[in-house]
């Protein structure tokens, strides 16, 4: 599955063949087929375990942050950006390739987004008076920015986005500019 992430990051899902995966992973073709039905299964397996890892790290960071809800969101966002910077290939697979690889992967991508939206909803103040879709658009917006930067090959500088993305995530709740105080 690591081989899958590396290969899709390098050449895209479509161009990645079973032969490439087994060569890169150093396993026999038979071993792959003992564990997976085919390329899509490998991709989905890799995607699921990567999402578990990323969402797990974000959740943990949120929980560990003491203080206000804002601190939780800040820590969660930082954990997310950290992951993108440290594991660009996996981040690319999850945030770029999954959207368009196959119908099943698009559905899983949507579910992964839902998980992050849920985290944001849990933390954001319930009495904000903001539209119900606020967290969806906010998380979607952050995912989009990361998607763009990854495609431009700027994954390693993901942490530079911290101030702007935090501003974007918090300003609907706090009012523009207030999160800088």
């Amino acid at each position: 599955m690591d081989a899958m992430a590396e290969l899709t990051a390098e050449q895209g899902y479509e161009a990645t063949k079973i032969a490439d995966i087994v060569r890169r992973a150093g396993v026999a073709r038979k071993t792959l087929y003992d564990n997976f039905d085919g390329k899509e299964e490998v991709f989905l397996g890799a995607f699921d375990s990567a999402v578990d890892e990323i969402a797990g790290q974000i959740e943990e960071a949120c929980k560990a942050a003491a203080g206000e809800w804002v601190d939780g969101v800040t820590a969660g966002l930082r954990a997310f950006l950290d992951y993108v910077a440290e594991k660009p290939a996996i981040a690319r697979m999850c945030l770029v390739e999954a959207m368009s690889a196959t119908p099943a992967s698009a559905t899983r991508y949507d579910a992964a987004l839902e998980r992050l939206i849920g985290l944001m909803r849990e933390r954001a103040p319930a009495d904000s008076g903001l539209p119900e879709t606020t967290e969806e658009t906010l998380v979607g917006g952050v995912a989009w920015i990361l998607h763009q930067r990854i495609r431009r090959g700027e994954s390693e500088q993901a942490l530079d986005l911290m101030p702007e993305l935090l501003d974007f995530l918090l300003s609907p709740y706090l009012g523009v500019g207030k999160q800088k105080l």
């Binding site: 119908p103 987004l113 539209p131 952050v142 989009w144 763009q148």
Partner: protein, 212 residues
């Protein structure tokens, strides 16, 4: 799209060819909405368009080639609609408001177009996906042009423009994926508030939306 009459009709070959091409694109869009990318075959597109398979290949090299043309056209349709709505105003906020209203109204009225442009079309591989990407990015300048400095007087960060546009595209795509394309226009107040608030502050954004 209706097929042309058979037999002698006095229509120029160019007209017939153009009409066939348009029918194929419409056929693909319709088939895609109903059965999804994988089941949208060249035969099905031809069937929907009443164009033979051999005529299909006179216009397009492959299914994906047809997809690319359909995608290109879909993006242009959405853009034309938005630009027409925006160009009625010089002022930033009514311009952005009308642009968003136009986009959401068009997508809700034509769920097949919404599906092609935001969800199913992206399965057609890298080419179309890159086009999606470029299309979403191309809407950023519409939002950025003439945008107010932000309610606290400080310029709104550059990533905000992109994140607003990307966030809206993501929300709309999620609704289309959930089979709710026809209700996209119900999201209007939410989307407007989301787009205007970073620039105007919540109170002013709500005032403009309710003045709609």
């Amino acid at each position: 799209m209706e097929r042309l009459p058979r037999g002698r009709h006095g229509l120029s070959p160019e007209f017939v060819a153009q009409n066939q091409r348009q029918r194929l694109i419409a056929g693909l869009t319709e088939a895609l909405y109903q059965v999804g990318y994988q089941k949208t075959t060249v035969s099905l597109i031809g069937e929907r368009a009443s164009v033979s398979k051999s005529d299909f290949y006179k216009h397009f090299e492959s299914k994906d080639d047809c997809f690319f043309a359909a995608y290109e056209e879909a993006v242009e349709r959405i853009r034309t609609e938005i630009v027409a709505a925006c160009s009625k105003h010089d002022e930033w906020s009514p311009r952005v408001r009308d642009g968003i209203v136009a986009a959401l109204t068009l997508l809700a009225c034509d769920p097949a177009l919404a599906s092609l442009s935001l969800v199913e079309g992206l399965r057609a591989g890298r080419g179309v996906y890159d086009r999606y990407q470029a299309a979403v990015e191309s809407f950023v300048p519409y939002l950025r042009r003439g945008a107010p400095a932000g309610p606290d007087g400080e310029p709104v960060p550059v990533a905000t423009d992109e994140a607003v546009v990307g966030g809206i595209a993501s929300l709309l795509g999620r609704r289309v994926l959930a089979g709710e394309a026809e209700q996209i226009d119900q999201l209007l107040p939410d989307v407007l508030e989301f787009a205007l608030t970073p620039y105007l502050g919540a109170a002013e954004a709500r005032r403009i939306i309710s003045a709609g």
